[in-house]
């Protein structure tokens, strides 16, 4: 993957398959400590200790349509190449937390890319799931919660081109406000 946002999109799909009803995406930028961290937490069905131990193995997958599962190994590889790391904790029936940490200034850290698009497209395609995206920088924090959007939309679907476009712009503008780094 060329962009971190695409990795996030990929990992979110795992949470969706794990039947999560709430997925939290947390980005923390800390320039003083040279940290760019990405956490994806869900309340899905979780993994057994055995599955968890093998999950970074590219030949480990829960699906039946193919034999390989590259999402997590590729993300891990990218993190390690940029002087970072990737860790997963999970509990059956409770959910899973994946955390990837990058060095903020590392030249090998891929760009974040279109995180606004990723969040909005995924939320629009999975309206029964609550998505909470928070982004902290040294300056401030921005939180995007689909629960609030749903309330504002009052029962109307957000899977409409105008709404998608608007929400994307809204997130982008707010990220610019908090001086996020791409």
């Amino acid at each position: 993957m060329k962009e971190l946002s695409l990795h996030i999109m990929d990992i979110i799909q795992n949470s969706i398959v794990a039947e999560a009803s709430c997925i939290e995406i947390e980005l923390i930028e800390n320039k003083a400590e040279n940290i760019y961290s990405i956490s994806i937490k869900d309340n899905g069905k979780g993994m057994s200790a055995e599955m968890l131990a093998n999950v970074t193995d590219p030949y480990c997958t829960s699906r039946t349509t193919r034999k390989v599962g590259l999402g997590i190994p590729l993300f891990k590889q990218n993190a390690e190449r940029a002087g970072g790391s990737l860790a997963i904790t999970s509990e059956l029936g409770k959910g899973t937390l994946l955390k990837a940490v990058f060095q903020h200034d590392n030249l090998d850290r891929p760009m974040m890319g279109d995180i606004a698009g990723v969040i909005v497209l995924t939320a629009a395609a999975n309206e029964n799931i609550r998505f909470v995206y928070s982004h902290k920088t040294d300056k401030d924090e921005y939180v995007f919660d689909t629960e609030e959007i749903k309330e504002a939309m009052d029962g109307m679907s957000i899977n409409q081109p105008q709404v998608i476009r608007y929400l994307k712009e809204m997130i982008k503008e707010n990220l610019t406000e908090i001086h996020y780094s791409n």
């Binding site: 349509t65 193919r66 698009g117 497209l121 999975n126 899977n159 105008q162």
Partner: protein, 131 residues
């Protein structure tokens, strides 16, 4: 400095959308809409599924085609990603492989608008691994 977009503006926009959407809901049943599902697993995302999905959403709107665009997991055609599944009203779903913006345009113009088949269809009975 311009004001940052907020949820208050979203509420305003929603009112404008309501009248349009009512029409759609009255003619109801999702079967009357074109349904598109973009395969959004590691393989799809890595080969550009997000771009294709955005293109589909924008272009269908521009060309006034009532459609629902959503996501699905890996359908097992990793070699042919990005893949999309198109279901026209009252027809069986058709899966297209190697979809880029050019192909997506062809699918909209020929298949969705005129029901003409285009190259790149993946036969439904093709299975890579037995379930």
């Amino acid at each position: 400095m311009t004001k940052v977009k907020s949820l208050a503006d979203l509420r305003k926009m929603k009112e404008g959308l309501e009248s349009k959407l009512n029409l759609r809901e009255k003619s109801n049943n999702p079967e009357s809409l074109v349904q598109i599902r973009v395969a959004m697993a590691t393989c799809g995302i890595a080969s550009g599924a997000k771009t294709v999905m955005e293109y589909m959403i924008d272009e269908l709107e521009k060309r006034n085609i009532e459609a629902v665009v959503t996501q699905t997991g890996c359908m097992g055609y990793c070699y042919a990603e990005p893949t999309i599944e198109v279901t026209l009203p009252n027809q069986d779903a058709v899966v297209f492989g190697y979809v880029n913006e050019k192909k997506a345009n062809e699918i909209i113009e020929k298949y969705i608008k005129n029901n003409e088949l285009v190259d790149g269809i993946i036969p439904v009975n093709y299975e890579t691994i037995k379930k």
